[in-house]
Amino acid sequence: MTEPTLLQTPAAREMDPRAREFRGGRFALSDLYRALTQAGGGGVIEGRTFVDCVIDGPALVLVLDGTTFDGVDFGPCDGDVRGMLFRSLNGTMAVGSIPVRDCTFRNCRFHNLGFTGNETLLQTLADQVRPD
């Protein structure tokens, strides 16, 4: 049985969404985003560093400038990384996605996250993310 995904776990409830660094632990990206917006932190997850975190979906990450992935496990994709990539038909608004700018993800594991962004980003992920 797969490990259940939980939103608003006790640990997640204790997170400070305004923290600049998140080290270890497991949380849902939509939880963090919602907590951040409710705390008045704006509509973009910006300038954060995530190390050794397990980050759950469901969520579509809008990858903006300055965001990097180092040693990240993007999660199972049945041998085709394109399964986690989506192209916005408009390319500018990307409603429903979670914008992430100038963030660093290091040695994190993603579970059920999709990704969107500009053409360069989509091609980079398609080329560089290793399928399972």
């Binding site: 939509s30 469901p58 969520a59 085709d80 990539l85 989506f86 916005s88 429903g96 996605s97």
Partner: protein, 138 residues
């Protein structure tokens, strides 16, 4: 005879199971990521067979619109251009999105929700009026 397994559920788990079992939602705010997670934890990989009437459906989330799902008199988003809400998948297996099949959305308002699906579905949704003419009920 009491259901001994019920006693083992945490309040969160019991709430989640109750949500999964429901087939109708009316005049409620529904947080789509949470609804999806409760379904996955119950072993159901898509939200299926439910009717949402006069609800606010909240993201952030992208809905994979699957067979049988319909939208009737809904406000799909605060934009006049449906393209702002739509995503074309680049592969076959869709990660990160919320699958919704055989569901009906009636006079619902979608907030921070995008949509994806087949090329045919995207073409159909492009022609939908994104802003409802009626005031939201929820």
């Amino acid at each position: 005879m009491t259901d001994k397994t019920q006693a083992a559920f945490s309040p969160d788990e019991a709430y989640g199971r109750e949500l999964v079992a429901r087939t109708a939602f009316e005049k409620e705010a529904v947080w789509l990521p949470l609804l999806a997670v409760h379904h996955w934890n119950a072993g159901e990989m898509a939200i299926r067979g439910k009717t949402f009437t006069d609800c606010v459906i909240e993201g952030p989330a992208v809905m994979a619109v699957m067979t049988g799902t319909t939208f009737d008199g809904c406000a799909m988003g605060t934009t006049s251009d449906m393209n702002n809400l739509l995503y074309k998948p680049q592969g076959q297996k869709l990660a990160g999105v919320v699958g919704v099949a055989d569901c009906k959305f009636v006079r619902c308002r979608f907030v921070q929700v995008g949509f994806t699906g087949s090329d045919e579905l995207l073409e159909d949704l492009r022609g939908v009026q994104s802003l409802s003419q009626t005031e939201p009920q929820a």
